[in-house]
């Protein structure tokens, strides 16, 4: 029992870690045409994420691997069920990775513009589609008796899920803008603060709307949130952070603003995870078919072996991640540094 729940929590922690970390570099991509306005500014903007973006993306790989190892039927059902959507996510991730690496290696403006466009659109598409996937999990999926997805691709693109997708884009834009505000100076830094305020307003509006919509679209989550106090604990963290964020932005406490944005993201993931626990995939038509941390878990032996690996490796990872971010602390330098 405890082991399965521990793994439910670990998967949620990995998702939250991914959303916070890749969230800001996806956000920088979403804002690539809005915040930096000139060639030097685009370089600075990109340079702020260049040393860390691929490490951030490893959180997604780790979350995927953890889901595969700890809950194979869920990994199998969700990934095959979301087939075309995930293929688009992969396409967008490839395009984005290539754009970051290739953009500055060409001199012609056309080359740069091409990769600017693909970087921005790839980043936006990843955020949107991950949000759509989250929206569908919030609504629940039709499953057949074998626990396989029984719907179509088009059914995934329902209004509520697209709305959650848009909310996710706004959330990552807010995170990316706070990052840029913290890492850049001058005109670019000022524009980043403005963008962060706009993204914050958009996110708060969308988030409230989604919450109002949730009772009809994600009825079960809403019911569970009403029955128990637990989801309100992270909510109690999110509210002051969302209130404080614009104040910190206006007062120039940019690091605090970024921390507020990060806690908001972690808090939202926590609210959803706690309300859903132990259900990963709800089947609204027949609740017994739902995939949960208990009926879809790997054997206790595998969960234990993996837990030991995590307990040894994760502190190390966090340790050197902090070390790396410390090496890159402070405002982005723009003088030539790379080989």
């Amino acid at each position: 029992m405890m082991l399965q729940l521990t793994w439910f929590v670990l998967v949620a922690v990995l998702v939250a870690g991914y959303a916070i970390l890749d969230g800001f570099d996806l956000g920088v991509g979403i804002l690539h045409f809005l915040v930096p306005r000139s060639e030097p500014e685009r370089r600075v903007s990109l340079a702020s994420i260049a040393p860390v973006w691929d490490g951030n993306e490893v959180w997604l790989l780790t979350a995927g691997g953890a889901l595969f190892a700890a809950f194979p039927p869920i990994y199998a059902t969700v990934f095959s069920g979301f087939y075309l959507a995930l293929m688009l996510v992969l396409l967008a991730l490839i395009v984005r990775a290539v754009s970051i690496e290739a953009r500055n290696r060409g001199v012609s403006p056309a080359w740069r513009h091409f990769f600017d466009v693909s970087f921005a659109s790839g980043s936006t598409l990843v955020a949107l589609l991950l949000g759509v996937a989250m929206g569908n999990l919030m609504r629940g999926l039709p499953l057949d008796a074998q626990g396989e997805y029984a719907g179509t691709f088009w059914a995934l693109l329902n209004p509520f899920s697209l709305f959650i997708g848009a909310t996710t884009v706004a959330m990552f834009a807010m995170q990316g803008a706070c990052w840029l505000a913290m890492k850049t100076e001058g005109e670019l830094g000022k524009r980043a603060v403005t963008a962060a305020l706009f993204a914050w307003a958009a996110y708060v509006a969308l988030y409230l709307d989604a919450t109002l919509w949730a009772p009809s679209q994600a009825h079960w989550l809403f019911l569970r949130a009403r029955q128990s106090l637990a989801p309100w604990i992270p909510a109690a963290l999110v509210v002051p952070c969302l209130v404080g964020l614009p104040i910190f932005l206006r007062r120039g406490r940019l690091r605090l603003a970024f921390i507020c944005s990060s806690i908001t993201i972690a808090g939202v993931v926590a609210i959803l995870a706690i309300a859903a626990c132990p259900i990963f995939v709800l089947c609204p038509d027949d609740v017994r078919r739902s995939l949960t941390a208990f009926n879809a878990a790997s054997s206790p032996r595998t969960l234990m072996a993996m837990l030991i690996i995590v307990l040894v490796a994760l502190p190390l990872v966090l340790g050197y991640t902090v070390f790396i971010y410390r090496v890159w602390r402070g405002k982005v330098r723009t003088e030539p540094e790379e080989y």
């Binding site: 040393p51 199998a76 690496e101 790997s298 054997s299 490796a313 050197y320 790379e338």
Partner: protein, 435 residues
């Protein structure tokens, strides 16, 4: 075409393109460690330039590996959902461990290599280089362990129609993991050695960056010769291990249709009738001229791997690999005779060897994976029972087409960027800007 065929084509395409990247970075990481170590001991400007140049190339290739690698981890779930349900209890763990133990290490410390020369001391820079190479090698370990479990499953029992773990270490160190890990790692070392050697030869032929090229070439030849010599031993041991653990794959490799004592070795022309050396296969496999070797006839036709592809890819790997060994050996010989840097013919041969190690590694994997057919997990799960039942063929066709287009673009871009850097040369760093 059926969804199964399309899914297999897509997996083959995505994994083969993906492997072109890590096979170079795994070996190049070790080259970087050696150069960074030499620089630490005896700092000079040529080592600085070597480190910068090869790190730059490493960065370009690593990015392609990241981009194509994410695909691999998703594809087990998207295209092989039945497989994922059947093996998840065992197969998921090494993938998660790979991300957690290896990828984080590699991608975190790479930033210091690529951008951090002025932010950290030489010693920290060296440690970061070691971490990147270690991360790449650990990643190879976990992925080869996972794949080896498909070849020679161990440490499990079948419960409720799925494989459940009974012994973690027995599953990780299953009978084929150790040798296949060494085989793959040494293959990547040879790849990096030939790559570094070929580009150095290019500069020597053009009379550019001479000191840089000489040092790089000497390093490449020594490193490559050690790797290729070890690879011959490991490859031989691995083939004999396959004969014991997957006899039908071995029979397909050697085109042995009939089980027999004193089996002959087919030397050329596989899989057609070829030159046979009597009793040699028995001797090479069991050190006994009269040992009995299992042939394909010991297995039902539906359980036999495709012979042509398995045998041809194996022999392509063998002869091309030995050929590379000869080229590297010749280089060391010329070096000893003091003619290495003046023999234009040798330098030209070495230069044209550049793509060959990539081919050798790929056909080696073709042998391993086609030779595993018709099984997805050896003797436990057939490939036809492994794919996602809910994904229609049309969807797989769409994604396959998408990968064909995007991977052609990606490969073209990588080659363009590497060639551009090579043309620029190791001296052209001053104009570089952060990306």
């Amino acid at each position: 075409m059926s969804a199964l065929t399309l899914a297999r084509a897509q997996f083959a395409l995505t994994v083969m393109v993906h492997y072109l990247y890590p096979v170079l970075t795994m070996g190049l990481g070790v080259v970087l460690v050696i150069v960074a170590g030499l620089r630490l001991r005896r700092p000079d400007e040529v080592y600085d330039r070597m480190l910068r140049f090869w790190t730059h190339i490493f960065g370009v290739v690593f990015a392609g590996g990241v981009a194509t690698g994410v695909v691999m981890e998703f594809e087990f779930g998207t295209n092989w959902a039945s497989y994922s349900r059947f093996v998840g209890d065992i197969f998921g763990a090494p993938l998660a461990a790979e991300a957690l133990i290896a990828f984080f290490l590699e991608s975190s410390f790479l930033s210091i290599l690529l951008f951090g020369e002025r932010r950290v001391s030489r010693r920290t820079h060296f440690v970061a280089t070691v971490m990147v190479a270690l991360g790449a090698t650990l990643s190879a370990f976990w992925i080869v362990a996972a794949n080896s479990w498909q070849q020679t499953p161990a440490g499990f029992q079948i419960v409720h129609g799925r494989a459940e773990l009974t012994d973690f270490w027995a599953a990780v160190f299953n009978p084929s993991t150790p040798l296949r890990f060494l085989h793959a790692v040494l293959g990547s070392w040879v790849t990096a050695a030939v790559f570094v050697g070929a580009i150095s030869a290019y500069y020597l032929l053009r009379g550019q960056h001479l000191e840089f090229a000489r040092r790089s070439l000497r390093l490449a030849l020594l490193f490559g010769l050690v790797a290729v010599a070890a690879e011959v031993g490991v490859g031989d041991a691995h083939t004999r291990q396959v004969a014991r653990t997957q006899p039908e794959k071995f029979a397909a490799i050697e085109v042995l249709h009939r089980s027999q004592t004193g089996a002959p070795l087919a030397v050329v022309g596989q899989p057609l009738p070829s030159v046979l050396l009597p009793k040699l296969l028995s001797f090479m496999t069991y050190f006994d001229f009269n040992a009995r070797v299992t042939g394909l006839d010991a297995f039902a036709p539906k359980d036999r791997p495709p012979v042509t592809a398995t045998a041809m890819s194996f022999h392509a790997m063998l002869w091309l690999g030995l050929g590379l060994g000869a080229v590297l050996g010749m280089g060391v010989f010329f070096w000893w005779r003091g003619r290495l840097f003046v023999s234009r013919r040798y330098l030209r041969v070495l230069f044209y060897c550049l793509p060959i190690p990539f081919v050798v590694n790929e056909v080696g994997w073709v042998t391993a994976e086609v030779g595993r057919q018709p099984w997805s997990v050896y003797h436990l799960l057939r490939t036809e029972d492994a794919f996602s039942r809910t994904v229609p063929a049309a969807h797989v066709a769409v994604s396959l087409l998408m990968f064909v287009v995007i991977y052609i673009g990606l490969l073209g871009l990588t080659i363009h960027l590497v060639r551009k850097k090579v043309r620029q040369g190791p001296g052209g760093d001053a104009a570089q800007v952060p990306s």
